[in-house]
């Protein structure tokens, strides 16, 4: 699950991409219970990775999905094309 040697952004990107891929697969194979089980495991890992990243760098998702904010870090640079 969480790998302390991987940087927080990379971990979010790797888990996030695996979930995109699985989501598309499940869209056309909704009866695949194994894939669903992997998807469910990854959602837990992904939530942890996102929290870990957000603790250091601020919210990942807008409009309240990343939860309450102690300051308006959402607008802070760098934005993704500056990284």
């Amino acid at each position: 699950m969480a790998n302390k040697n991987v940087n927080p952004l990379q971990e979010v990107q790797e888990l996030g991409f695996a979930l995109v891929e699985l989501n598309l697969y499940l869209d056309t194979h909704p009866e695949d219970a194994n894939a669903l089980a992997v998807f469910n495991d990854l959602t837990t890992c992904y939530a942890t990775a996102r929290s870990n990243y957000e603790a250091q760098y601020g919210p990942l998702i807008n409009f309240g999905t990343s939860g309450p904010a102690s300051s308006w870090a959402w607008i802070q640079e760098p934005w993704p094309w500056q990284v």
């Binding site: 952004l9 990379q10 979010v12 990107q13 996030g16 991409f17 995109v20 891929e21 989501n23 598309l24 697969y25 869209d27 056309t28 194979h29 909704p30 919210p59 990942l60 998702i61 807008n62 409009f63 999905t65 959402w74 934005w79 993704p80 094309w81 990284v83």
Partner: protein, 190 residues
Amino acid sequence: MWLYEKRLEYPVKVSKLDPQMAMYLYTQFGGPNGELGAAVRYLSQRYTMPTGRGKGVLTDIGTEELAHWEMIATMIFKLTQGATIAQIKASGYGGHYAIWDSGIFPSDSNGVPFTTAYINTTGDPVADLHEDMAAEQKARVTYENLIKLTDDVDLQDGLKFLRQREVVHFQRFGETLNYVQGYMDSKKVF
């Protein structure tokens, strides 16, 4: 409703400024086989797709295409940021600069502005899904061309990711076409 996640789907790295390559990459930002066209096509077709599966596939792939559109913009940004006028004139970027300055404008690699004439939405799922499969193949070919047009290994990594996604999307659209055709056959009354 759309949310935005403040990160790239996959990292974009370039090893040097290259406004010439940025100009070539515009075809995937605002050209006929590009990511904006793909996103608008799928997100427009989704409303008339039969079955939840059809709507899900078109929504999810369309959404992913917007993330790819962002990656292409990032490549263009990194390849042109801080380029001098001399560098811009020496590359093929001068024509773009004259009109759009350092702005990243949805055009193709020849500066032709993006148009929804590149896409279709017929409301007929068999027609729409065949167009989607063709679009993914054309995008794959375009990425192969772009990979050949650069020797920047870092940039190629991002382009190879995007190429591979086209292959997977083609697969998913094919599966959806089979399913939708089966569904429509089962609704026939003789």
